[in-house]
Amino acid sequence: MKRGFRLTVNGEPYEVLAAPHATLLEVLREDLGLTGTKEGCDEGTCGACTVLVDRDPWLACLTLVGEVQGKEVRTVEGLAGGRALHPLQESFLEHGAVQCGFCTPGMLMTAAALLAERPHPSEEEVREALEGNFCRCTGYVKIVDAVVAAGGRQNEPV
């Protein structure tokens, strides 16, 4: 049976009517229309559905809608500030760190959490932070380069 859940997503308060067995991923994509967050494996192994919950990267596919009540959820739609892209997004563009693009939102959110915590991460730190985000197109090199380069810029905390 559906019930109401109050959520905060990208700074906006929402009240959604959802089944308790709905995942955060389903609610974001199907109820709120925020389809930037991707459904990859849906079983917690690929990282495509990564969103920030109170600044920590979580897998939206392994999070119930009820678990984020009272928490701040941030998705890739909330990464850019208005029309200005986040430095990470700029850097991904400059480095061509996108091929099919399916893993990109998850990569960006994981990387954004890293940069918020460590504004100038080393390549090793970037690789460790991204170890849970799978990309099946690239060799990860451009993605890692893009995050390291973004760390060289002055970042707004997410």
């Binding site: 049976m1 559906k2 959802a18 089944a19 308790p20 067995h21 709905a22 995942t23 389903e26 609610v27 199907e30 109820d31 459904e39 849906d42 079983e43 917690g44 192994t45 990282g47 990564t50 919950v53 920590d56 990267p57 979580w58 897998l59 596919c61 392994l62 999070t63 119930l64 809608v65 009820g66 678990e67 994981t110 460790e128 932070a129 170890e131 849970g132």
Partner: protein, 347 residues
């Protein structure tokens, strides 16, 4: 709309979602056989998506106050609340200083997104796994139901006719905590009890925990190590990330005043049987023995010899036996005196 089933095979089954605010309330709700506790949910929700578990009620215990903490105990030990996340353990300055092998074990679980949500209590109470059981129910070929699913047979160990379940216990933090002789507090709505962590495990692949209905693990207490003790946790897995252990081995050694003679050895493995495995033969061999490379090799042989290894989860018994001996020897040497001079618990 969300949660309606739809196409996707991996939608969760229906359940009602309960949010108790106190330990007593949570335990009261969990007395019901149709209720399962949800902590980080990173393992439970996968099993529910696979329809291995379909509880009518899910009790989210994260609203219970004061169970997410890491505190120092008088005398140098620490207490860890069951709702502490693996990320918090991995990063805790106190854990890294006192028990770096515990931080390493927490760090070796899953991926960062999982460690940000998964809890210590969840890892300790991790269900056993095998390649036959841990797949979506709908993707299995029709076969006789296996014992972990309530049937009479086991499909993963050739020749097993009695229906014994060989699913493997795979938690990474547990061998370390057992080697450190940790105790767990278990609460029910009425009272609480403290038991050695090893007593939490039944050895039964189907029901690996000795917890009774309505009970929850609330905290783990790790006693201090004597001066000059050393420890290590080594994990073998297929990839450098994400995977459950093919095997994990924790060694904690204390030394006599000569800093070389092993006074006590604790060696505990994960991923090798349906409960954490204590390598008691090797432990007994090492007692009052100088920890040389030769002694480590002999102890490692005893670890391998004491274990019955089955080909499971795509890993041959022969490979696994070799790796058990190899990792045991490495773990012992890393926990040994050379390492311990630079502070205990080098990884």
């Amino acid at each position: 709309m969300s949660g309606n089933g739809g196409f996707a095979a991996l939608r969760l089954p229906e359940f009602s979602y309960l949010e108790p605010r106190s330990l007593q309330e949570a335990c009261g709700l969990l007395v019901d056989s149709g209720s399962l506790p949800l902590s980080g949910g990173t393992d439970l929700l996968v099993n529910m998506k696979y329809k291995l578990l379909q509880p009518p009620r899910v009790v989210d215990i994260k609203g219970i106050a004061d169970l997410a903490l890491i505190q120092e105990l008088p005398g140098g030990g620490i207490v860890l609340g069951a709702l502490t996340t693996l990320k918090e353990i991995e990063r805790s300055a106190l854990v890294k200083e006192r028990f770096p092998l515990l931080a390493a074990a927490a760090r070796s679980v899953g991926i960062p997104q999982i460690r940000n949500k998964a809890t210590l209590g969840g890892n300790i109470c991790l269900d056993t796994r095998c390649w036959y059981y841990n797949v979506p129910t709908f993707s299995r070929k029709p076969r006789e139901v296996c014992s972990k699913l309530g049937g009479p047979v086991c499909h993963v160990v050739p020749g097993e006719k009695q229906g014994r379940c060989y699913a493997l216990f795979s938690a990474d933090t547990v061998p370390v905590l057992m080697a450190l002789e940790a105790k767990v507090t278990i609460a029910s709505a009425e009272d609480s009890r403290v038991i050695p962590l090893r007593e939490l495990y039944s050895g039964d692949g189907v029901n690996p925990l000795t917890l009774r209905r309505g009970e929850l693990v609330t905290e783990v207490r790790v006693p201090p190590l004597p001066a000059g003790a050393g420890g290590a946790y080594l994990k073998l897995r297929e990839r450098g990330t994400l995977d459950f252990p093919i095997l994990g081995i924790a060694a904690v050694l204390t030394f006599a005043e000569d800093k070389r003679t092993c006074r006590q050895a604790r060696i505990v493995l994960t991923g090798v049987s349906s409960s954490p495995f204590e390598a008691t033969d090797a432990e007994a061999f090492l007692e009052n023995t100088p920890l040389t490379a030769q002694a480590a090799t002999e102890a490692a042989r005893l670890v391998r010899k004491q274990l019955r290894v089955y080909p499971l989860n795509g890993i041959s018994a022969r490979y696994k036996r070799s790796m058990i001996a190899e990792y045991a020897a490495r773990a012992l040497l890393q926990a040994g005196p050379a390492a311990s001079q630079e502070g205990n618990g080098r990884i």
